[in-house]
């Protein structure tokens, strides 16, 4: 029993931590577009300003 009193708050705390992480990512717009990023992994250097040669 005693161990549960410690473990469950930890588990829930971890859960809240992940929810907060999800909120942060979502509010940044990381889930606005779920199609294009899948293709972007094929690029070399996109998104880094000035790093691509002509």
């Amino acid at each position: 029993m005693n161990i549960l009193i410690v473990l469950i708050p930890i588990a829930l705390g971890l859960g809240f931590f992940f929810i907060a992480g999800f909120f942060w990512a979502n509010n940044q717009g990381q889930f606005d577009d779920v199609e294009t990023p899948a293709h972007k992994i094929l690029f070399d250097d996109i998104g880094v300003k000035g790093s691509i040669d002509e």
């Binding site: 029993m1 549960l4 469950i8 829930l12 859960g15 992940f18 929810i19 999800f22 909120f23 979502n26 509010n27 717009g29 889930f31 606005d32 577009d33 779920v34 199609e35 294009t36 293709h39 972007k40 094929l42 690029f43 996109i46 998104g47 880094v48 300003k49 000035g50 691509i52």
Partner: protein, 691 residues
């Protein structure tokens, strides 16, 4: 200052297009970020300093992408984005809480002993709170609106079950009756319903302007004297040049000797018309001849085109608020469930009020129209997805219900029943030798005239470059050039049958060598298609702004009854026809159809339709194929069948669960088993029906 610009990019096919555009824009100093979305072909640009949209459009044009600045829809787009994010947050919270409640509740059902029981029950209640005060807020809003507007929406019983279930469970928790808590089943159905609604929402949002050759670009500039003016700034008596393939933006008078413009999208006339000096060209026509000089007769605001656009905006979409099947069913279900619950409670007052109250509440919770709330949006979402795979964009779920009620179908002619462009049907002499074909193709090499396109369609594959001298194109006299000492000219000419055909001649030193006849051909297999539709859904009408000769020819070829063919219609007359008919469906593409499309119960814009039509229709065909319409009918029938079978399942479940509740057999464990089973049955049934 940071500004945001939104563009629609044409022709994004694969990741290399995305890379090209983003790479180019990221090199600009003023641009903070640029994102291309493949799912809706939108380009979002955030600029650190002010930057002219035209500048970006120009840069993109150079690498081969034409773009359109999204003005009107941009606000809506950003709002949708915000809305989606909020929604997703709510789902995340609901999912997290429901999952954890489930973990604790399973341990309780598995026989957790007294101290655990208390501990876990309180945790469940605690975890339910975020759902109650955060995730479910939209249900309360809708329920409130439904009470206010005296309209029974499905969110009302959900709200009652949710709040009632929580209140009931909380009281029992306080009274230490740990076997009467409904936190788990209520939390999981809220999570499920939210998820399904989110997907339906997303599917309905993916609609923005499509590729559109005929578009009033408000940012486009015309040279007036030494200055450049935007379309909206053009004033009376401005003299300016309209290039080939550009739009005539205001009503104006022709200053050149000849000009040829295409008014098909504005009036439905299929053939370009020849204008002579001092004739008035209506705004909204497309210049197909070489560049012409014109003088504006009116300011932009007073021009025909702008007035039509304003009228389209002004006419509201009043498609009678008929209760849809799912709404109607939930209406009855709610009434029955609540009256049974109340009657049972009143009846139980005489012997055991507390037990009676508990059973009545259990009835409301288990009979909550979970199946309905889940079934209808899921069915519509899958229907929209299926339609998209077929090549049909559906903008609003009501289409599935409305289309089954259609009694009268109206078709536009030009661009809908016909190809909307001319093609070569006859030549004199019948066979033209290879040398002449080469000459013709070389003459028309750089022209954007419809005749040039038609000739290229016919012979373009054989093209070989010839050396022509003094090659030029002149409005009204076609193209001409010298070849091996002879003067060749290819021009449009008048003919007796100018209503039916468009005629062109090739002249060698002013002597006619060959004649060509072009026609706006009827689409393949159209009469078969129309017959099919007529049997299935009702009367077919042809409404066109074109001249009566051509319209009746097309009408009879399509097998449409004579009294159902209407020609020479203005956009307003089309609108009136639709307005005065019962359960109309409109199929069209031009600006002149936009009013009618908006008014019709179901408006279908065909591929290649102009922006105005696209925006005002309910359905858009992605492929240039009218046979998608019967497929849409078939799909709608399947959707209807899926809805009905879901209703049956829901009815059977509610009947059994309701009886069990009234006889006191429902406790949280039974509810926790029964409710997911009903949801599962609905989900698998829907997938199976629309597979």
């Amino acid at each position: 200052m940071q500004t945001k610009l939104l563009f629609h990019v044409e022709g994004i096919r694969c990741h290399s297009c995305v890379q090209k555009i983003e790479t180019l824009l990221h090199k600009e100093d003023k641009i903070g970020s640029a994102h291309v979305r493949m799912d809706n072909s939108l380009l979002e640009v955030a600029c650190d300093e002010f930057i002219e949209p035209q500048y970006i459009q120009g840069r993109l044009k150079k690498i081969g992408f034409s773009t359109k600045l999204v003005n009107k829809a941009a606000e809506q787009y950003y709002e949708q984005k915000k809305f989606n994010r909020k929604f997703l947050n709510k789902i995340a919270v609901a999912g997290f809480c429901a999952g954890n409640i489930m973990l604790f509740t399973v341990s309780i059902y598995a026989g957790a002993d007294k101290l655990y029981l208390k501990y876990f029950s309180w945790l469940s209640a605690l975890l339910f709170l975020p759902i109650l005060v955060y995730s479910a807020t939209d249900f309360y809003k809708n329920a409130y609106a439904s009470i206010k507007n005296k309209y029974l929406s499905i969110d009302l019983p959900i709200t009652i079950a949710l709040v009632g279930g929580f209140g009931f469970s909380a009281i029992n928790l306080y009274l230490k009756k740990y076997d009467l808590l409904y936190f788990d089943s209520t939390a999981s159905f809220i999570f499920l319903i939210l998820t399904v609604r989110y997907f339906l929402n997303k599917l309905q949002q993916s609609l923005f302007a499509m590729e559109d050759p005929f578009r009033l670009d408000e940012g486009k500039e015309y040279q007036v004297g030494n200055a450049f003016k935007k379309v909206t700034e053009l004033k009376e008596n401005d003299i300016f040049i309209v290039k080939q393939n550009d739009l005539v933006p205001v009503d104006c008078v022709l200053l050149d000797k000849y000009g040829e413009v295409n008014t098909s999208l504005l009036t439905g006339e299929s053939y370009p018309k020849l204008y002579q000096q001092n004739m008035t060209i209506p705004s909204g026509s497309l210049n197909v001849s070489a560049a012409i000089t014109v003088k504006a007769l009116k300011n932009y605001e007073e021009s025909y085109l702008n007035q039509l656009l304003e009228k389209i905006e002004y006419v509201k979409k009043e498609k009678g608020l008929t209760l849809k099947l799912a709404d109607r069913a939930s209406h009855y279900l709610v009434l029955v469930v609540f009256s049974v619950a109340i009657l049972y409670f009143l009846f139980s007052l005489s012997f055991d009020p507390l037990e009676g109250f508990q059973r009545a509440l259990a009835l409301i919770i288990v009979a909550c129209p979970c199946a309905l709330a889940l079934g209808a949006p899921l069915t519509y979402a899958l229907g929209i997805q299926r339609a998209k795979k077929l090549g049909i964009l559906i903008k609003n779920q009501n289409v599935f219900d409305n289309i089954l009620e259609i009694k009268n179908i109206f078709f536009d002619k030009t661009g809908t029943l016909t190809d909307g462009k001319i093609s070569l049907v006859k030549t004199i002499p019948q066979d033209i030798d290879y040398q002449t074909i080469q000459l013709i193709l070389n003459l028309e090499k750089t022209s954007h005239h419809p005749i040039a396109y038609a000739l290229r369609d016919m012979w373009g594959k054989q093209f070989e470059n010839l050396e022509l001298n003094n090659h030029s194109e002149l409005a009204g006299s076609g193209v001409f050039a010298n070849y091996k000492g002879d003067l060749y000219q290819l021009k449009r000419s008048q003919s007796k049958y100018s209503n039916e055909y468009i005629k062109a001649e090739l002249l060698k030193n002013d002597i006619v060598v060959c004649e060509f006849y072009f026609e706006d051909k009827i689409r393949n297999g159209i009469s078969h298609f129309l017959n099919d539709i007529k049997q299935k859904c009702g009367d077919i009408f042809l409404v066109s702004g074109d001249n009566s000769t051509l319209v009746s020819i097309v009408g009879s070829l399509c097998g449409i009854d004579k009294d159902k063919i209407h020609s020479n219609l203005s956009p307003d007359q089309k609108y009136d026809l639709i307005k005065n008919s019962k359960k109309p469906m409109m199929v069209g593409d031009g600006i002149n159809d936009a009013l009618a499309l908006k008014e019709a119960l179901v408006g279908i814009a065909v591929n290649g339709a102009v922006n105005e039509s696209f925006e005002n229709s309910d359905v858009y065909l992605l492929k240039n194929d009218l046979n998608l319409i019967p497929e849409l009918f078939a799909l709608s029938k399947n959707v209807r069948l899926a809805l009905i079978s879901n209703l049956k399942i829901s009815f059977i479940y509610n009947f059994i669960a309701g009886l069990l509740a009234l006889f006191g057999y429902i406790n949280p464990l039974v509810a926790a088993i029964l409710m997911p089973i009903s949801s599962l049955a609905i989900i698998s049934n829907t997938y199976w029906r629309l597979r």
